[in-house]
Structures are given as structure tokens and as C-alpha cells.
């Protein structure tokens, strides 16, 4: 399935190895075994990522929306975060990840959550509410081109595509 991902054979094999490590004994025989979100986010690559839950949810194909991943979802994830994935695909997934309530746009609530994610959990690091308001309004000022109070995908991609270091930082490698 190299045609479908940006990964090389070695990477896929490695991913498979890592993935089977996450599975429990009896699951290893199953082909479409799912790894629950709790175990996925213990991966060292994701452990300290503030968006780990979102990432799992975005890439999960589970019916119950519990964020569990099959191997293919897992590959999908790695592919999108791989070195060679295009800016377009990366920005698309980034948008999905930032879109916390899955409504297809980034509105104020999403942005607020995003800022909170970025500034960490600790209380002293948090921005005050006025700062937050200021920040969000600034962001909307910049990137909300049609001035409808939200950032939609194309606006988001527009902003992202100009950014010099998005591609280099939106990466996860096993």
C-alpha cells in the first residue's frame, strides 16, 4: 500500500511492528484489531503532544467515535505526518485536528481551546481572558477573510500555505 501513503516500505514495516506492540495478545491474530485511544497516546511520539486525543479522533474510523485506531488508520496518521506528505494534505488534517467540535469551521470556541492546548495545562501559563480575547480577535482579523467570525478550511489553508515552517514542524516519525 505504498501508493496510498507517503511512507516507505521500511516505515510501514516499522509502523506495523510498533502497532502490534500496542495490541494485546489475543488481538494480534485479528486483522482489523483496534487499539483504544488510551493505549495509542502512550506512544512516546504522541505522549507529550497536546493534540494527541484530537489526532486519534481525526484519524479514527471507529463507529463509536471512541478514537480507537486500526492499523490502517494508524498508517493513515503516519502518512499524513510523514516527511513527504504534501502541504495540502497536512494543512487539511491540521484543520481537522484544530476543529475541536467537528463542525467544519474554526470558531471562537475552537480557537480558545487551541490556545489552551498550546499554552499547556498549568494555570500560571494560561492567558488571562482579556488576553485571550485580544488574541482571538487578532487571529480572526488576520485570517478570517470573509469576516464571518470563523476560519474555514480554505482560509486556514491560505494562512498555512504561507507559513515557512508548517511543513517542517507538522511531522511525526516513529
Amino acid at each position: 500500500n505504498q501508493e496510498l501513503t507517503f511512507l516507505t516500505k521500511q516505515e510501514i514495516l516499522l509502523a506495523h511492528k510498533r502497532f502490534t506492540e500496542l495490541l494485546e495478545k489475543h488481538e494480534k491474530e485479528q486483522i482489523d484489531a483496534r487499539v483504544p485511544i488510551g493505549r495509542i497516546i502512550t506512544l512516546p511520539e504522541l505522549k507529550s503532544n497536546p493534540f494527541k486525543e484530537r489526532i486519534c479522533q481525526v484519524f479514527s474510523t471507529s463507529e463509536q467515535k471512541d478514537g480507537s485506531l486500526t492499523f490502517e488508520d494508524f498508517l493513515d496518521l503516519l502518512s499524513a505526518f510523514s516527511d513527504s506528505a504534501t502541504l495540502e494534505i497536512k494543512s487539511h488534517y491540521a484543520f481537522r485536528i484544530f476543529d475541536f467540535d467537528d463542525d467544519g469551521t474554526l470558531d471562537c470556541a475552537d480557537l480558545e481551546k487551541l490556545v489552551n492546548c498550546l499554552t499547556g495545562e498549568t494555570n500560571d501559563a494560561k492567558l488571562s481572558s482579556t488576553e485571550m480575547k485580544q488574541l482571538i480577535s487578532n487571529i480572526l482579523e488576520e485570517s478570517d477573510i470573509d469576516k464571518d467570525g470563523t476560519v474555514n478550511l480554505s482560509e486556514f489553508q491560505h494562512v498555512i500555505s504561507r507559513s515557512p515552517d508548517f511543513v517542517s514542524s507538522f511531522k511525526i516519525v516513529l
Partner: protein, 930 residues
């Protein structure tokens, strides 16, 4: 064994997965066809019934429909989609056309977001048509049908229904004629799709796999079909392309497997973020470059001399002189690259000036010169190419500062960070950067006490200039003194006196950067600007040191040249005397040549070797200092902090000494200057490149280990961003600066008369002249003389200057055009915004206004113009970015005025059913023009 077994099981599993997928595909295909047949029978039924059934049981098409959807939306949109599709289905055949048009318009409207939305229903419809056709024409076989359907699915959106109908007819009548061409086309499309499949952010890997497998399936059938029609060649071609693709992929895999240290770098990357990793990537790149240079040097110069040249001890230049022979094997001498080292292939002096050597008649001197210069040429080419590529990737350049906040927001997280500590630092730095930027925004520049600040900055700069001057003088002084030392008896000198120059230079490189950093505190710049200043200053320091060193060296070389001249005269005189004596003594004219043991021969100082030795010593001491700094500054510090922390009065880890950070800029600059010295020294010491390869190799492993073992992530995590090209720019500058002295010496200084490949010549480049006049046909020689004629060179230079001027002007023009376009886009955007805002309330007013405006017709062009003119600068080189803009502009479904506001305001609603929720409405209303 065990490993092998594991691998096998793994492979089996993967194969199994693939097979499963295949089976799924088969299943689905079967189900689909069954459905179709059932549908055909049921065709006469009420449409509404059909609808229901469609929704309930027709799983397959729906799945496919979802697959088609490039951008998976949330489920409610899916529902919406279904409803729409159903509604469309409900429409009778005559109405279908209208519906289609309707939909086209509509899909135009919300194209950006829901491109696939339009496609899915139309495909559905086509399927319908297919089914009908099936009812009529039962004769056609399954595969044909499937492929056809797929094809249409592919053509999907842009073909309107009318076309479809005509196509249907043609299909029914002339299946055989157009079929082949269509098939081919379709196969091409499929291939394209397969190639670009991964570029699409579709949901669900499974779907992707299914789609791909289905395509391959169909393709296979196509091949069979083609063969049936006697197109064996075609089938063969298909097969070959498949093989080729597979081979390419394997090759790609192989290539990535061959990249060294990939895992190591990724490990570092995951701990320290992309900035530290960028240093190691740079180091690896440098290693590759040096490896190639080493290949040149070794293959074209060193190896021929070793294999075909005279062996050691045969001629004076290859022999250790008698006076030095006692100590030639002493370690201290060897370590200073004296003794046997000095008379080895490592250095210039060893090479013989014989024109051809060995059975191959290898022209060593010529090869030496060309390699020496070629190394520069090659490095220049590589550096510039890399820079150009980086510039293309990073592209852009333009609107910085336009999206500062959004960038901070959306792109500040480095997803590579896998280390909690780094993550904490990152959180902190992001928070501070947010706060900073807010503050910046609030009070753009609060210039309190600007005089004090200015004064401090000037003071800091003066101090730094003093430092630079001081260090330059110190080096000059030391080099001068070392020349005095060199004239004294080497036995009476201490180790320090012998290695003073290198020692002082390394020390300066070690002490000055932190000093600069301390001074820079005074200036109170923003950290990013401060970093740039710091880099610039260190750069100036290194450069100054290097050049002082060089000038001092030149003094020495001139001294040596004088002594050499004397020596040469003395030797000639001695030989002359000898000849005269001999002939007078024996009274004969054929004098046997003077036989002297090569070790006893009188020899000149051979300044080239001396320069080479200086460089090698410099490199070696630099290497030692670097490694020692890492060992002491990082490793020892880490150990002390780690273990003394248990019994210390304050927290060492958090407090004063703490762990060291990885100093990216310093390391990169060190690497760059090291490379500069290699470039400069390589001509005089061919072994230097090999030495450097070793050095880089060890430093790769050593630094990787050190950074993982004893460094902590940065407080402020800088991004790799565009600094890569910044480093490259520095490298280019250094390359150029190191090119200068080498070329100067080649062109102006006379080579030593008794050592090196150019001995006996007036200038080094005479080798080239000699080859041209003697070995090449005469006409080339004349051509060469014409070409080097000043009369020809001057116009050439003039032409180049003119070309540069012209290109410069053109690029300025493009920049201007870019700016204009940007302005235009902004205007158009504003226009659109106004229109939307005013759509309902002031629609009439706006229209009136537009009527009144004389340049009403001027407003529509922007989209057209945007597209056409944007292509121009795009082709001028800023490909990536502008390409994007073009595509963005193209996806913009409507020009600002192309549809007057009213036309799209109303009607389509009745087909679209209940108006979408607010979220979606927004999404749709927003044109994807960005």
C-alpha cells in the same frame, strides 16, 4: 533466525491484509452488479419506492459516494448529501437535465468545500442511466459495464447531463469504435488518480485501499479486453509500466534506506525539535559533500601518485632530509605533521613534476591543478543548487507579518517533540510568544528611554569591535612570533611555543562567542534579532581570524620565497661549479651528472607544504578543541550537575550551572568555517579532505551521543524555518572567501622549484598552457589564445553585467506585478465582502451604484486577470506560492461580478431542500478564494 521468522510472519500478515482487501472489492463489485440487476427489474416501480430502497439497502454506491468525497465532512452533511441525491433521483428523465444544470450551478457555488458533493450525485445518476441501458441492451458483458461506469464516475462533474446522454447513445451504437480510445483515456486517468491518490485527504484508509484495488481490477480487465481486440502490445505496455512503477518504488525504498543516520537524526529530532535536528542534517549534508570532494582528490591525485609515481625515497622531495631523519619517527614530530608526515602524500611537496606518469601517461600536474580548482567549482555548484532548491521550497518571501498571529497559533507546535521536558519548554515559549505579540500589538513600540538604549547599543558595538580588532591583532602577533620561533632550534621550544598559533585561534573561538553574548545583553534586542547579531559577530570574528592568519602566512611565504631564490641560485651555482671543475679536471665535456643521495640534497623550504601543514594543524587543533569542549563543557558539566546535586546546597539542575543547551548557531558556524579551511587548505594538502571526512564522521556520532546524553532542550525553542538557507548563504560566502587566496596564490606566486607537481614552472597555471600548446591540436591553441584575448574578455564581461542588470530589472518588475496583484486581490475581496454584506438590504443600492460607476466593466476582470497575469510571475520562479494562488483563484467559482448578486441569491433553494444549518451555511457562503 528468529528475526527472519518474524519478518516472514509479518509479510504474511501484510499479504493477508491485501488479500482481504481484494476479497472485499470482489464482494462489493458483485453486490453492486446484483443491485443493478435488481434495480433494472424494478425500474417500473414508483420512484419514491426506489428512493427508499436506495437509502436502505443500496450500500455499495453509497459507500462509493462517500469515498468520492474528497473532504469528508461530518455526518449531517452526509445525510444532506443523501437527501439531495435522493431528490435528484426522484426527478424524471426530462427534468434531469434541468436538475443537473441546477446542481452544476450550485456545485459551482460550494465547489471548494464540497467538490465531491457535486460529483457523487451525478455519478449516481449515471449509474442510473447505466442501469437503464442495461435494461435495454442486455448483450454487454459485465466488465465493460463496470469499466464504463467507472470511467464516467471519473469524468464525473464536468460532463454535463446532455453530454452524458449523447455519450450513452454513442455507447449503445458504436461500442467498438470509441471504446478503445475511451478505454485508454480512462486508463490514463486512473493511473493519474492512482498517482495522486495519496495527495487527497480522504478519510479512511480502507476506502482508499478499496478504491485503488478496484481501479487496478478494472485496469486488469482493460488489459484483457485490449488483448481480446488484438492489442497485445498494449497489454504488454501496461504490464511494463506496472513493472516500472514497482521497480521505481523499490528503488525509492532502497534510496531512503541508504541515507545514513536517518534514525539517529529522527531520534534527536523527537527530543529536541526540528532546530537541533537541522544542524545534524546540515552536518550530514556536509559529510556527503566532503565525501565527494574526497573522491575527487583521492581518485585523481592521490591514487595515481601512489600507484604510478616514484616510490618513497627515490628523489629528494620524497625523502626525509638527513638532518631530520633521527627524529622523523618521533611521535611529537609526527603529531606536528613533521618528519615522515611532511614527506608523504598528505602534502603538496611530495608530488612529482613529471608530466606523464605510469603506463597510462597520466598527467599528474595537470590533474592536480584541475582537481584543486574543480573542487571549488563543484562545491560552488552544489551549494548554489541547494540554495535554489531551498528557496523554492521555502518560496514565498512576500507577506511576512501579515499572519503573525495565525502562524503562531496554527504552526507553532512542533509535532516532532516527543519529550515531556521539551514539550514543557515549548508550552512556555508559546505562551510567552503569545503574550509578547499581544503586548507588541498593543503598544507597538514603547520607546521609553531611547537614549539610554541607543547609548548602550553603541557601547556594545564599540566593545565588540574592540574585541574583534584585539583578536585579529593577537593572531597576527602570534603568527609573527611563531615565525621567529621557527627560525630557532626546534628542540629548545616548548610544546606551547610550537602550537601557539592554533592554540590561540581555538581559544579565541572558544572565548569570544560567550563574551559577545554577554555584551549583547546590553543591547536588549528581541531574541531573534539578537541571535542574528550574534551570528553576524561570530562570523566576523572567525572571518577576521582566518584572514589575519592568512595574511601572516603570506608574509611567511614571501620570506620563504626569498630564501628559496637564494638557495636556488646557490644550487645552480654549485652545479655550475661542479661541472666546470669536473670538465677542467678530466678535460672532457660530457660530464656525468652529479650523484647525491636524495636525503642529502639541498632543498628549498617548499612554502606550499608549509602552508598545508599550517592548515592541517589548524584543523586538527580545532577538532581537538571542539571535542574537548563537548567533553568538558557538556559531559563533565552534566555529570557534575547530575551527581553533585544530591549533596549541594542549591538545586544544581534548576539553578546556576544546570545542563548545557545545544548551541546550534555556534556549531553551525564552526562547521562552516571548518569547511572553509578545508577548501583553502585542500590545494596544499590533498590529504586534508580525507582527514575532514574522518572528522565529520566522528563528530556525527560524538555529537549525536553528546546531545542525547548531556544536553537539555532549549528554553526558547527556535524553529528550523528558513535558517537552512541562511546557513547555506554563509557557506557560500565562506566558500567564496576561501576561493580568493587560493586563486591568488595559483595565479601570482611562483611555485617552489624543487617540490610539488609544478616545480620548474613560473606559475602554476603554466601546466595548462603547456598541455594546450603541446598535447592538443594546434587550432585549439589558437582558439584559446583568441579566447583569452582581452578584447574578447572585456565584451564578455560587459555582456554579463548587462544581463545581470536586465534580469534584475525584470525581477523587480515581477515583484511590482506581484504587489499589484496582491492589491487587486485585496480589492476584489473587499468588493465581494461588501457585496455579501449588502446583498439583502442594499442590493438595489449597490446595483444602482454600479450602474452609475463608469468603470463597471472594469470590475469583473480581476479573476481573469489574476489568473493570466499570475501565471507570469509564477513561471518566473516563485512557482510554489503562486501556483497555489492560481489554483485558489481557479477554485473561486464566480468572479466578483460574473454573476450578479441576485442570480445566485434565490432559486436553487427549492431543490436543495431545507436550508443548511448555520455552520454549513457559513462554509458554503464563504467562497474558497483565499
Amino acid at each position: 533466525m528468529l528475526l527472519h521468522f518474524q519478518y516472514q510472519t509479518l509479510c504474511k500478515k501484510i499479504i493477508y491484509i491485501c488479500m482481504c482487501v481484494c476479497v472485499c472489492v470482489l464482494d462489493e463489485a458483485r453486490r453492486r452488479s446484483k443491485n443493478r440487476r435488481a434495480k433494472a427489474q424494478r425500474k417500473t416501480k414508483q420512484v419514491s419506492d426506489d428512493e427508499d430502497e436506495e437509502e436502505d439497502e443500496d450500500e455499495a454506491p453509497r459507500k462509493r459516494g462517500r469515498r468520492k468525497r474528497t473532504k469528508p465532512q461530518d455526518s449531517d452533511q452526509d445525510d444532506e448529501e443523501d437527501k439531495r441525491r435522493v431528490r435528484q433521483k426522484g426527478a424524471k428523465a426530462p427534468r434531469r437535465k434541468a436538475a443537473n444544470e441546477e446542481r452544476d450551478e450550485e456545485s459551482e457555488e460550494d465547489q471548494g468545500k464540497r467538490k465531491k458533493g457535486g460529483r457523487a450525485p451525478s455519478k449516481q445518476e449515471k449509474e442510473d442511466q447505466n442501469k437503464e441501458k442495461k435494461g435495454n441492451v442486455k448483450g454487454k458483458d459485465e466488465t465493460n459495464k463496470g469499466s464504463e461506469k467507472d470511467k464516467k464516475k471519473k469524468n464525473g462533474k464536468q460532463t454535463s447531463s446532455s453530454e452524458d446522454e449523447s455519450e450513452d447513445e454513442s455507447d449503445e451504437e458504436s461500442m467498438s469504435e470509441g471504446e478503445i480510445a475511451a478505454l485508454k483515456e480512462q486508463v490514463e486517468e486512473k493511473k493519474k488518480l492512482i498517482a495522486t491518490l495519496r495527495n487527497k485527504p480522504w478519510r479512511m484508509k480502507r476506502r482508499l485501499v478499496l478504491l485503488k484495488e478496484a481501479q487496478e481490477f478494472v485496469e486488469k480487465f482493460e488489459g484483457a479486453l485490449g488483448k481480446g481486440r488484438g492489442k497485445k502490445l498494449y497489454a504488454f505496455k501496461v504490464m511494463m509500466t506496472k513493472k516500472l512503477i514497482k521497480f521505481n518504488r523499490d528503488f525509492e525504498n532502497f534510496k531512503t534506506a541508504c541515507i545514513p543516520w536517518e534514525r539517529k537524526i529522527k531520534e534527536v529530532e523527537s527530543h529536541f525539535g526540528s532546530s537541533v535536528a537541522s544542524y545534524f542534517i546540515f552536518l550530514r549534508w556536509m559529510y556527503g559533500l566532503n565525501l565527494i570532494l574526497f573522491g575527487f582528490m583521492f581518485g585523481l591525485v592521490v591514487l595515481p601518485e601512489v600507484l604510478m609515481g616514484l616510490p618513497y625515497g627515490s628523489i629528494p622531495r620524497k625523502t626525509v632530509p638527513r638532518s631530520e631523519q633521527d627524529t622523523a619517527m618521533d611521535f611529537s614530530v609526527l603529531f606536528d605533521f613533521g618528519g615522515y608526515c611532511k614527506y608523504s602524500i598528505l602534502f603538496y611537496g611530495y608530488y612529482n613534476n613529471e608530466r606523464n606518469i605510469g603506463v597510462l601517461k597520466f598527467r599528474l600536474p595537470l590533474s592536480y591543478l584541475l582537481t584543486g580548482v574543480g573542487i571549488f567549482g563543484y562545491s560552488l555548484m552544489v551549494v548554489i543548487r541547494t540554495m535554489a532548491r531551498n528557496a523554492n521550497e521555502g518560496g514565498d518571501g512576500g507577506d511576512e507579518g501579515e499572519f503573525t498571529f495565525s502562524w503562531k497559533m496554527f504552526t507553532s507546535w512542533d509535532y516532532l517533540i516527543g519529550n515531556p521536558e521539551t514539550a514543557d519548554n515549548k508550552y512556555a515559549s508559546i505562551t510567552t510568544s503569545f503574550k509578547e505579540s499581544i503586548v507588541d500589538e498593543k503598544e507597538n513600540q514603547k520607546d521609553e528611554n531611547i537614549h539610554l538604549q541607543r547609548f548602550l547599543r553603541i557601547l556594545a558595538n564599540i566593545m565588540i569591535l574592540c574585541c574583534l580588532g584585539g583578536s585579529g591583532y593577537l593572531i597576527y602577533f602570534v603568527v609573527k612570533r611563531s615565525q621567529d620561533f621557527a627560525k630557532m632550534d626546534p628542540a629548545s621550544l616548548t610544546w606551547f611555543q610550537k602550537n601557539e598559533v592554533e592554540f590561540v585561534m581555538s581559544l579565541l573561538g572558544l572565548v569570544c562567542p560567550p563574551l559577545f553574548e554577554t555584551i549583547a545583553e546590553l543591547e536588549d534586542y528581541h531574541p531573534r534579532i539578537a541571535l542574528k547579531w550574534q551570528l553576524g559577530r561570530i562570523f566576523a570574528l572567525f572571518l577576521g581570524n582566518l584572514y589575519t592568519f592568512l595574511f601572516a602566512l603570506f608574509d611567511e611565504v614571501n620570506d620563504k620565497l626569498e630564501t628559496e631564490q637564494e638557495l636556488k641560485n646557490a644550487t645552480e651555482w654549485a652545479i655550475h661549479e661542479y661541472n666546470a671543475n669536473y670538465s677542467s679536471y678530466y678535460n672532457t665535456t660530457d660530464v656525468p651528472p652529479l650523484v647525491v643521495n636524495p636525503a642529502d640534497a639541498v632543498r628549498g623550504p617548499c612554502w606550499e607544504t608549509a602552508v598545508g601543514i599550517e592548515f592541517v594543524k589548524l584543523i586538527v587543533s580545532d577538532m581537538q578543541v571542539t571535542f574537548l569542549t563537548i567533553l568538558i563543557g557538556d559531559f563533565a558539566r552534566a555529570i557534575i550537575v547530575r551527581f553533585l546535586n544530591y549533596c549541594w546546597c542549591w538545586d544544581l539542575e534548576a539553578g546556576f550551572p544546570s545542563y548545557a543547551e545545544f548551541d546550534i548557531s555556534g556549531n553551525v558556524l564552526g562547521l562552516i568555517f571548518n569547511q572553509g579551511m578545508i577548501w583553502m587548505g585542500a590545494f596544499y594538502a590533498p590529504g586534508l579532505v580525507g582527514l575532514n571526512v574522518l572528522r565529520l564522521l566522528t563528530s556525527m556520532y560524538f555529537q549525536c551521543w553528546a546531545v542525547m546524553a548531556c544536553n537539555v532542550p532549549h528554553e526558547r525553542v527556535f524553529k528550523a524555518s528558513r535558517s537552512n538557507n541562511f546557513y547555506m548563504g554563509l557557506l557560500l560566502l565562506v566558500l567564496f572567501l576561501s576561493l580568493l587566496p587560493v586563486v591568488y596564490t595559483i595565479m601570482t606566486l611562483p611555485p617552489s622549484f624543487d617540490c610539488g607537481p609544478f616545480s620548474g614552472q613560473d606559475r602554476m597555471y603554466d601546466v595548462v598552457m603547456e598541455t594546450i600548446t603541446q598535447d592538443l591540436p594546434a587550432f585549439i591553441g589558437t582558439i584559446f589564445t583568441y579566447a583569452t584575448n582581452p578584447g574578447l574578455i572585456m565584451p564578455a564581461v560587459l555582456l554579463m553585467v548587462l544581463a545581470i542588470y536586465y534580469l534584475n530589472t525584470v525581477s523587480k518588475g515581477y515583484q511590482q506585478a506581484n504587489l499589484d496583484l496582491k492589491k487587486k486581490m485585496k480589492m476584489a475581496r473587499d468588493e465581494e465582502k461588501n457585496r455579501r454584506n449588502n446583498k439583502d438590504s442594499t442590493n438595489q443600492v449597490m446595483k444602482d451604484l454600479e450602474d452609475l460607476l463608469p468603470n463597471k466593466s472594469l470590475i469583473p476582470p480581476p479573476t481573469e486577470e489574476d489568473k493570466s497575469t499570475k501565471m507570469k510571475p509564477g513561471s518566473a520562479g516563485k512557482g510554489v506560492n503562486l501556483q497555489k494562488e492560481v489554483s485558489l483563484a481557479a477554485t473561486n467559482p464566480r468572479g466578483p461580478v460574473a454573476h450578479p448578486p441576485r442570480a445566485r441569491g434565490g432559486p436553487p433553494g427549492h431543490l436543495r431542500g431545507p436550508l443548511p444549518g448555520p455552520g454549513r451555511g457559513r462554509g458554503r457562503g464563504a467562497p474558497p478564494r483565499t
